[in-house]
């Protein structure tokens, strides 16, 4: 029995010996383990090293990676040219519009300033007109400076798109075809957006505009070249209403269907003046 207890006793002694001899090492190992296992402690030790590397990288990054980044950007730009244009286009458009608006305001301000300094009879007359109509002098000057001309006027049957009469400053294209295509465009827009009791009233491309006024069984379209302010667009619309009530409302059907007569009246009313 005594022999069987002997190895156990030796093991205990050996363990104690190990404990005594390795006490310092174990303590150190435990401390390291605690540092590695605890985020805060680890961060305390590692952070300065990372910080140091990062600040070194910040200083040398552009130099070290310049070529790779340039190449990447070049490839990306090449592959997404359309995407870039698409995303820039609206912003550029807005910027240009804003710029033009701003320049226009400046122009108006300049005109106002020069008007204040002008005491010519014309200036005085304009001031009087501005005072009585409530329209700013700058707008009156701009309106005189605006150069727009009614190039063509069409009177068109609303449903069929057949031309009832037309007048032009310079004939450019077959007016029957223009009337048909205008009606088709009008029908398409009104059909596509299905806004009740709403009509296509204005088409614009570049400096060219088409002002449209729809009546019960016909509509009128005026093709205008040049720049025009809102008030002038309104004036053209008013002229169309005046023409309709003076020449078409209550007219005999033989007069309305007389294309030559209508065309002559349109010429005198819109083009000649």
């Amino acid at each position: 029995m005594a022999e069987s207890h002997k190895p156990i006793h030796d093991e205990v002694l050996l363990d104690r010996l190990k404990e005594i001899l390795l006490w310092d090492d174990r303590k150190e190992l435990d401390e390291i383990k605690q540092i590695l296992d605890t985020r805060a402690h680890l961060s305390e030790r590692v952070s300065p090293i990372i910080e140091e590397h990062l600040s070194a990288l910040k200083e040398t990054f552009s130099e070290d990676y310049k070529e790779i980044i340039n190449k990447l950007i070049e490839v990306k730009l090449k592959n997404s040219q359309e995407e870039i244009v698409n995303s820039l286009y609206p912003s550029l458009g807005r910027m240009i519009k804003k710029y033009i608006g701003h320049q226009f305001e400046l122009l108006k301000e300049n005109i106002d300033n020069s008007v204040k300094k002008t005491f010519s009879p014309a200036g005085f007359k304009r001031r009087v007109k501005s005072f009585f109509t409530g329209v700013k002098e700058s707008e009156l000057i701009l309106s005189n400076a605006n150069n727009y001309t009614i190039q063509e006027v069409f009177l068109i049957e609303r449903d069929s798109g057949l031309l009832m009469g037309s007048a032009s400053l310079h004939t450019t294209f077959d007016q029957d075809v223009v009337a048909g295509m205008l009606t088709a465009i009008k029908a398409f827009v009104e059909d596509a957006f299905k806004k009740e009791k709403q009509e296509l009233e204005f088409i614009e491309y570049g400096n060219y505009k088409i002002v449209i006024q729809t009546f019960f069984s016909y509509y009128m379209a005026a093709a205008i070249d040049g720049t025009m302010i809102t008030q002038e667009k309104f004036d053209v619309e008013e002229s169309m209403h005046d023409f309709a009530s003076a020449e078409l409302t209550g007219a005999k059907s033989s007069e309305v269907s007389n294309s030559e007569l209508i065309s002559k009246k349109l010429y005198e009313y819109f083009i000649k003046k």
Binding site: S160, G161, L162, D174, M181, A187, F188, S259
Partner: protein, 161 residues
């Protein structure tokens, strides 16, 4: 001078624009270009010495006529419904389409036209004519121009009678 609005309609690829180009410009092209929306052009024809202005609206082809915006048909005096003699699918719904067109243009003149007759032999054409459930007004070839002038002249004649 009298002006009349004519609508060219039918399924896609049946040759409406080719008929239009052949009638207006005396031109034919083998290239197929689909019509976007509508194309309007005019040609004057003489009926018993009277000049008639035909304003032809070439409408983009649709498989079914109820897909065409109804506003295009407003104020039209006549409709030319075109089908392709070589493609049964283009005259399969003929009866239904014609009924629909009669509803949206009551009293309007409707001509049913079988186009591309140059692509079929006489017996094949006879078979198609037999298969079609409604009377065909005329058979045309936009490519050779066969019967194209006749189609529009007959239509103009019927319209001013």
């Amino acid at each position: 001078m009298t002006s009349k609005k004519i609508i060219l309609t039918g399924s896609f690829g049946v040759g409406k624009t080719s008929l239009f180009n052949q009638f207006i410009f005396n031109k034919f092209s083998d290239k197929y270009l689909t019509t976007i929306g509508v194309k309007v052009n005019k040609k004057s024809v003489f009926v018993d010495g009277e000049e008639v202005n035909l304003l032809v609206w070439d409408i983009a082809g649709e498989v079914s006529q109820d897909k065409v915006p109804t506003s295009y048909f407003l104020g039209a005096s006549g409709i030319i419904y075109v089908f392709d003699l070589t493609r049964p699918l283009t005259y399969k719904n003929l009866e239904k389409d014609i009924d629909y067109l009669k509803q949206i243009l009551p009293g309007g003149l409707i001509k049913i036209v079988g186009n591309k007759k140059d692509l079929l032999e006489e017996d094949a054409i006879a078979k198609v004519v037999n298969d079609v459930t409604m009377p065909i007004s005329i058979l045309t070839s936009a490519k050779s121009g066969e019967n194209v002038e006749d189609l529009f002249n007959d239509l103009a004649k019927s319209l001013i009678k």
